[in-house]
Amino acid sequence: MEIILTLVLGLAFAFGIGAGDETLATLVGSGGMRLRRAVVLGAILAAVGAMFLSQGVATSIGTELVNHESFDFARYQAWILVSVLLTVTAWLIIASRTGLPVSTTYSIIGAFIGVALCAPLFGTEFSMMLHWSELQYIVIGWIVSPFLGLAFAWIVGYLVKRFIRRKIHGLGGLEKFERTLMIALVFFSCFNQVNRAGNDAGKALGIFYSLGYAGQIDGAMMVLMIIAGSIMVGLGLLIIGRHLLKNVGKNLIEIRPSDAICIEASMSIVLIIANLFALPISGGQVLIFAIVGIAMAKHESVNKKRLKRIVYSWVLTFPLAAASSAGILLLIVGGFKI
């Protein structure tokens, strides 16, 4: 029963990841693509990215984070995953309610730390529950990726300004320039959609890898669930994600293609690096820091109050997710004496 519950929650999480994907918002916001078309294209690309590019991150989270040998993993695995999934789903709901870019990566890792806090329940020690070297690797990715996003956006923004923009003298030239960049923007946005879906979906599909490698579900079932999870990512974007794309793309972001391309190019570089190293990074975090980078390149001020609020929400996510998953696990394993 608990396996079925885990699978259902895993699919719901994959759906939630798709629903919270705002990768194509810059493309919609800069007027490069109509919302309806962006949603359909985004859903297809997200499903493809989830299906083919998520394995590295999924394996990192699903099989390499928890130390299976430190306790009776098979006995508790499903409940551990249920507590993690419930926590992450709650964060996704909070994110959609508050409009804050709450990081699912932070919440899922925080939730695993919460699991480690419950080590005595499983007859082991906190320090033995997780592969800390793996966690260290992920945390370094968190710290480095936003700054890489900022730095690359600044560099691309500076180069565009220094070598191209200054040579344009009138609205006619500007129009031609932006139009040309739009083609590149469509390419970068689609590329990022596939890569980001690969990275983000890995966090949800990692659940299926975890169950598969532990022998809780057979190989065919694991593949089937990965396909179903990938489709759920696409469906999430298609059904719910359209509202986010509309809000972010049409209401919050009104940018020129030349700015959008700097942000998307920076995202592309960071996502390629992250996927190459199987690092589960926060796409939203990279996006926001890339926007800060482009603002710095243009000597524009950033809304520091808003930025602080976003950073606080990231920082808070980690301990709150840990407390949440620990609480759920205590309730299930301790309360029902499983």
Binding site: S30, V160, H169, G170, L171, L174, E175, K176, P257, K298
Partner: protein
């Protein structure tokens, strides 16, 4: 090539906008000619006045149609321009239309009243019409430069200011002359109304020129 594709291509290099500017320049030049013919006072000139009034009104209607077509293209399904630029294009077309409306009011004055100018004000009316025309033509050049070179658009702004200042000076002197004239009340009101409607077109052009200058500065300092 289908119509939509054609429209999409025409946004670039703004032939729609250029056509509006050309029509505005023509309308302003015809209005100068209209005042000159009205001041002539001959029978032949009177016929010419009627024709010119029709032409000026027709050009206002043409600008209206061009504006509608341009806005449709601007916000068309496949038309593309960054939103920030779209708003500026809309602002430009609306202002061109408003100046054309002001010029049309000048022509309408001739439609509703058969002007016979006192001799001592004729030259001032012609000077005013020339100054107003120069203001509008300079403005049209400034708008065209906005699409070619922001810096020149900024410097053309001074030319518009200067032409409008001349128009303003002439209008005050003309109003003084009218007040000093021995004309009946109705004629006085109509002569004054004509001065006011001529200077209103120059004032509107100057306001728009200020905004174009601001746009040029905005785009120059955008990055």
């Amino acid at each position: 090539m289908n119509q939509r594709k054609k429209q999409r291509r025409t946004i670039h290099a703004n032939p729609g906008l250029q056509e509006m500017l050309d029509a505005l320049k023509k309308q302003s030049q015809l209005t100068e000619e209209l005042v000159k013919q009205a001041c002539d006072g001959s029978d032949k000139a009177a016929i010419r006045v009627k024709a010119l009034v029709s032409d000026v009104i027709a050009l206002e209607k043409k600008i209206d149609r061009l504006k509608e077509a341009f806005i449709e293209t601007l916000y068309a399904e496949k038309g593309f321009l960054p939103n920030i630029q779209k708003n500026d294009y809309l602002f430009i077309t609306e202002n061109i239309d408003e100046i054309a409306d002001e010029i049309e009011i000048v022509a309408r004055q001739f439609q509703i009243y058969d002007y016979s100018f006192p001799d001592h004000v004729k030259n001032d009316y012609i000077s005013l019409a020339i100054a107003v025309n120069n203001t509008v033509v300079s403005l049209a050049e400034q708008v065209a430069y906005l699409f070619k070179d922001f810096k020149i658009a900024g410097s053309t702004w001074r030319k518009v200011q200067e032409e409008r200042r001349i128009a303003r000076e002439v209008s005050w002197s003309l109003l003084h002359e009218i007040l000093e004239s021995e004309v009946d009340h109705k004629k006085f009101l109509m002569l004054r109304a004509l001065v006011k409607s001529l200077i209103a077109a120059a004032d509107k052009a100057e306001d728009f020129s200020d905004s174009i200058n601001a746009l040029a500065v905005k785009y120059l300092t955008l990055d």
